[in-house]
Subunit: 342 residues, 4 copies
């Protein structure tokens, strides 16, 4: 059975990445592509790398016949996403890639994103989309909220450790190195090749990055108490990838064992032998996560390093994995491609 | 039916690329991986991006049981390749990715590569592997010689034009821009990131690049007279891609029509609308070729620009496409992935 | 004696490059910096890499007291530049970096740039700024027109050859590889890191690039007949540099000797030993030009490769060299820094 | 008065950087260049970007007439450096760029570097070369030991804070992002463009990086007790730059004030306004250090970010600054060039 798929927001990077993945999916067909600002254009003009595919032209999302759609991916900016999703028929399953349905508490949403939430009913039914930890809920969900890409990366390091109680909760530091596609296809001076290549910098330093809202919500729920982490993202001159270097207190071999056990059966999350460290080079373009654990010369400290591709496992790959679950398919369909190296 | 596959030379970039592709092939299984200098190692240590695959450890090629192998890819350096292939049992189909069987005339081989050919019998049976132009021969071949990556790129621009007689034969210039993976995983100073990134240069200027041997052989055969082109490669700070800017004399719209007609039915070769130009960005990691044709303000001149990925369509992708033909499979199997962008 | 300098258009890359160079000049002082869209801002906010310098804040150009200025650099977009320069007092020497005063024939200007020239008096007095060939005129000029960066690169290869009559005039091809800073600090999708890094493409193919106007004017004047070259620029993932691969007919050793003789006394133009080829790596950040000449396996053909830094020798370095001449200084002052490598 | 300078180890990146800087120095002349493995070669062949300079050919260090030399830079690998320096005449001032004389305790040296120290007399007289903190000692020294590039970067963040007692000493974390030239001109697989560009990773995780020896020595001396920091370096796809993100406990505004006061009179160290963060883009090719301080949402924590160019301020620029002091010159001579951006 072929599922009919729509993508709203098909002119951005996560939209293009969804198309790349779905094009190889045996049981999905792209029935509609929407991008209101570019409606009427052919995808070959918006993304020439998709030229070889037989894709529908871009339309406005209002032009989509949702009766013919089984599942809709929403790859819109936050705020716009909630406005659109609240107007979609309830019969359509939705995977949202924006930040709009990640935070369960509307006050937290408003605190981090600045606007009142305008789709509280949908927010209420949304399931948080970190597949490995919400798999059963996702299977039965109508609306799944894709996680932030940094938020996913950090949680892969920390969730099992918090659950198992093997690390201290008051001194967790996440130092993240993020490739530029995480900023989307936006025309900003600091994203120009001439401004970015050959240099790097921290940004949103000091606890101001919005993905902290997800860390707070998820880690506090797991711990049964408030957990506040430090998180500093850095912009690195590369197109894809997130590397999280996570500093924790705890016994390093326990940390390693806990993570190795937690992910032993996962198809996409791989814990390296103790003492090895991963690289974003080795996950690029794939849905895989590599995790390494090392001790420190200072006893009682461990360093967990996580690498994933922000556009794939951090965003569109995760979205497709969730869609597979929602549609009753094997969750790895369309996601088994190896990384591209070099 | 699943074909049992061996790869000799699995520790280089074209070997790794073959594994990436075959891992997604529905009817092939990797039965043996050889790399004599790294025999005994696990692939996860040699290429960590393949860690998630269940692959055999590296062995020496002599350790392979060829009775259990249907087809063998040889991704060795030239000279070594002919020595190995001449010792393989005749029952095994072989796709060679080296330069050893591309030139039909042993004297030409010796002229360009400096050593006497040591496997003349195999050279005699080898079929030149430019799929779109040798398809029927490849189907029946036991040994196929993969083309040079630059040689493939230039031939996509020029073969139909020479065959159709729509361009002059005495003033063809190929100015090529080549990404660094074409040089392989070799430890040379000029391939270091610190020496290559942020700058670029010509090399093998003036008609000394070995792929000229292929151009001479193929273009002269097509034209029925000697054709000598000018070819200047440039090393560009990127990992994958070849862009050929080909300067010809001839009527630009005829050039465009001839190419569009020649490739109309090809699954992987796409001729853009007249006046558009391709980019290596839009073919990276894929088996697709993009071709653009433009006229010049000087009447009677045309510019053909060809973009492809040197490791995929220029090498391992071509090899797999040929292997599919040799094994009676649909030639696109394992090769339909979209390019990775950004 | 310290010359008082103003820069109009100080918020772009060529403006910043002028400041970088003048900061090391023993006899120049930056008295005013203008950028109308950013007037009121400190330079440390616009270009943090200049933070350590004691620079005046940005003003509008109308706020500059030109009585206190000896020489003014104009680093504005074309069309704006002519409007501003036509209003400057005649007592101020001007080096213009825009395209507005490069073409002597107003009809040619209108043909290539699309607008009628609005400062014909200034155009009439302007001297073309290719230092090595207009040195004496520049010394006495009030207004010097900086050349196009590609135009400069191509002329370094070809002017001496055309003057000496050692090459054919009807089959000259310039294939140029250009770094992205040549496009300025402009917010365009194809200049984003995510769109540019790791790939490359031709643009303005077929004789449509505006710098052809300069080639036509200069080469035809030198030859005493119409000379039309083919010129294809390519956008390369690097920040600085132009590499021109120039295909000519002629005897290669004559070509080499002619160039070596022409530049023997030049402080910034270096002709490499015959058969060697230059790299943009080796001129980055400097005012030097490296030129290599090679023969081809086809007799009677030669390849000239030129490398320079588009922001320095191709633009702001050239401008400063000309300003030195106009102010009676040694032309190398402020320009002797070595390239930055790696 | 012109000082006669020798450089031993002139074929590596720090050697080339010394030449770039000294070429602009008004009171220094390069009298000899040694590189034993490339003795006899011209510098233009080893580093073509220095082609325009009138430099002596490479010799072996034993061939240098040290009677004619005032000061010698040693840019050799550690272990080799101590062997050479112990044989130099005591009349020659020496700035060593290797690790051989950084650690005062021979046991610490052996612990981190694995070999017994073979030049204990010289080790005893060596002054640690972090200019801003050892200025007076350096002025009178015969032998100055250049610091590790990472060691310098971390110390700029932490020394004033430890001295002032405004941060906790038991939970300092330095997460460093390092460009590839820090690894030198060495032929290693992971330094190839194809392996490094577009990805990044941690290395020497868990307290194994040798520069920890310098941190231990210097911080413990300042604090009057043992101080052990956590330090994790990361390899970033860029050629120049180190960015240190330093996590400390303490009051953020005190941290900022302490650093701003400490460096107020320094010519090369710039503390940004509170809350701003630096970038390696803005120091590339220069001797400047940019430092930013930010608070965190968690009270009592601060983040200090330091950016410098590893080859300049982190190595050869520091060496020249120290040489200026040793020779009685203004310490900024030859070091005032602005960063190269873009």
């Amino acid at each position: 059975m072929t599922h009919q798929i729509a993508i709203i927001g098909a002119s951005g990077y996560t939209g293009a990445e969804l198309i790349r993945l779905i094009a190889e999916h045996p049981n999905m067909q792209i029935a509609a592509l929407a991008a209101n600002s570019k409606a009427g254009q052919a995808m070959a003009d918006v993304f020439p790398h998709l030229r070889h595919l037989d894709l529908p032209d871009l339309v406005t999302w209002e032009q989509i016949d949702f009766d013919a759609i089984d599942l809709c991916f929403c790859a819109l900016p936050h705020k716009t996403s909630q406005e659109v999703i609240s107007q979609l028929p309830g019969s359509v399953k939705v995977v949202d890639l924006s930040a709009d349905f990640r935070l369960r508490d509307p006050a937290e949403y408003e605190k981090w994103y600045g606007n009142k939430h305008a789709a509280l009913a949908q927010q209420d039914e949304a399931v948080y989309g970190l597949t490995e930890f919400y798999r059963e809920d996702i299977r039965g969900a109508r609306l799944v909220a894709g996680t932030g890409c940094n938020a996913a990366t950090g949680q892969y390091a920390l969730r099992p450790l918090i659950s198992a109680g093997v690390i201290g909760l008051d001194d967790i530091i996440l130092d993240m190195k993020c490739a530029v596609s995480g900023a989307g296809r936006s025309l900003k001076e600091n994203l120009l090749h001439a401004e970015l290549s050959e240099g790097y910098n921290a940004y949103a330093v000091g606890g101001t990055h919005r993905h902290l809202g997800e860390f707070d919500q998820e880690f506090s729920a797991l711990a049964g108490r408030e957990v506040k982490v430090q998180f500093t993202p850095h912009l690195i001159p590369a197109n894809r990838g997130i590397l999280a270097t996570v500093y924790v207190t705890g016994e390093a071999t326990s940390v390693h064992t806990t993570l190795a056990d937690a992910y032993a059966a996962e198809p996409f999350v791989h814990v390296l032998p103790f003492g090895q460290t991963p690289s974003t080079h080795h996950v690029r373009g794939s849905n895989h996560v590599h995790i390494g654990v090392t001790g420190d010369r200072i006893a009682g400290r461990a360093i967990v390093v996580v690498a994933l591709d922000n556009l794939t496992k951090g965003s569109s790959g995760q979205a497709l994995q969730n869609a597979n679950l929602m549609l009753g398919e094997d969750e790895t369909l369309g996601l088994t491609m190896a990384p591209l190296f070099p």
